[in-house]
């Protein structure tokens, strides 16, 4: 139920045709998990906080370093050395005290992924490696939680929305986890742009309007200022969501 303050605070989005009080109510009732609060996760969690998502959980086991500060907007100079989840949570609470922010200083692993995503409505990929993305993707498929995947490199970014049981999953797209050698270059504006789109996808999914990037990968090439789409195809033999999957060790909840 929206309060009077909610109606004022979120008024500019509530008046969007087809969104209204009911759309804002759905955001207020939602629980979104942001895995990784680096370049993508900072920007995504900020916009989700501004939008009024009722509960945001952020997960990251890393600590803030000077080299993060060209892009990770929630971490400031005074935060160097602090856990990223703690640093980010403090800023998010200051942006919006009307929502719940949970900070988990953990690394997502095969052993804890199911527990971490249990009960959330949407998972946002703010990770910096495909190995962990594959762990998260598999957990999302097991628990049928939408997973908004994104990645960046330099001025190039990509994003797709994975709906388990409906769209190709990450393991359909890449049969093996892509490996990045060395330090990945990145300008701050690239994750900021792609993460804004992740927050937009989450907002539409939760409120139930518009079209999302289901079954297609959107690429942005900032060097040439081009957007392009790749059609994604489900792999019937996929090792995660197809006939190639192992018998689940964990039962689906």
């Amino acid at each position: 139920m929206l309060s009077g303050d909610d109606r004022i605070r979120y008024g500019r989005q509530i008046i969007y045709p087809g969104f209204g009080d009911s759309g804002q109510d759905k955001l207020k009732d939602a629980h979104v998990l942001v895995v990784g609060v680096g370049g993508l996760g900072c920007a995504a969690s900020m916009y989700l906080t501004y939008a009024g998502i009722g509960h945001i959980t952020i997960v990251d086991d890393d600590s803030v370093e000077l080299s993060n500060l060209n892009r990770q907007m929630l971490h400031w100079e005074r935060d160097i050395g602090k856990k990223k989840a703690v640093s980010a949570a403090g800023k998010l609470r200051n942006i919006n005290s009307g929502i719940k922010i949970t900070a988990l200083c953990k690394k997502v692993t095969e052993d804890n992924a199911d527990q971490i995503i249990s009960g959330v409505d949407v998972v946002i990929d703010g990770l910096d490696n495909y190995k962990t993305r594959f762990v998260l993707n598999a957990a999302c498929v097991r628990q049928r939680v939408p997973f908004i995947h994104a990645g960046v490199n330099g001025l190039l970014g990509q994003i797709t929305t994975i709906i388990p049981g409906k769209t190709p999953c990450l393991a359909c797209i890449y049969s093996t986890p892509p490996i990045s050698k060395g330090t990945i270059p990145v300008f701050g504006v690239t994750p900021a742009l792609i993460a804004s789109l992740q927050a937009m996808e989450a907002t539409k999914l939760i409120a139930g309007f518009g079209e999302t990037l289901q079954g297609r990968m959107l690429y942005f090439n900032g060097e040439t200022m081009e957007f392009a789409y790749d059609d994604l195809v489900k792999n019937p033999k996929c090792s995660v969501c197809g006939t190639g999957r192992r018998n689940f060790k964990r039962s689906r909840k």
Binding site: G151, N153, G154, S180, P191, A228, D231
Partner: protein, 86 residues
Amino acid sequence: MSVKVLIPSLLHKYTDNKEVVEVEGTTVNDCIDALKNRYPELERWLYRSGKVATYVHIGVNNKKASINDRVADGDEIKVMLATGGG
């Protein structure tokens, strides 16, 4: 040595809508270079500073491969973009 390169749909507009292009080469890198030489506009997505970009994910005959791997006649190279940073 003729090798097939499978083109992702986002790049079809640069390959005259061809989904598969046959090229000559003895390594994956040779084949991608040959593809780019035939369709120079691919460079804007697949290359950075004159080299195949590190975010280009390569598979040969449905198995993960590296840019310097050798290829044989009839092999299929799959090219995908995989930006991994966060």
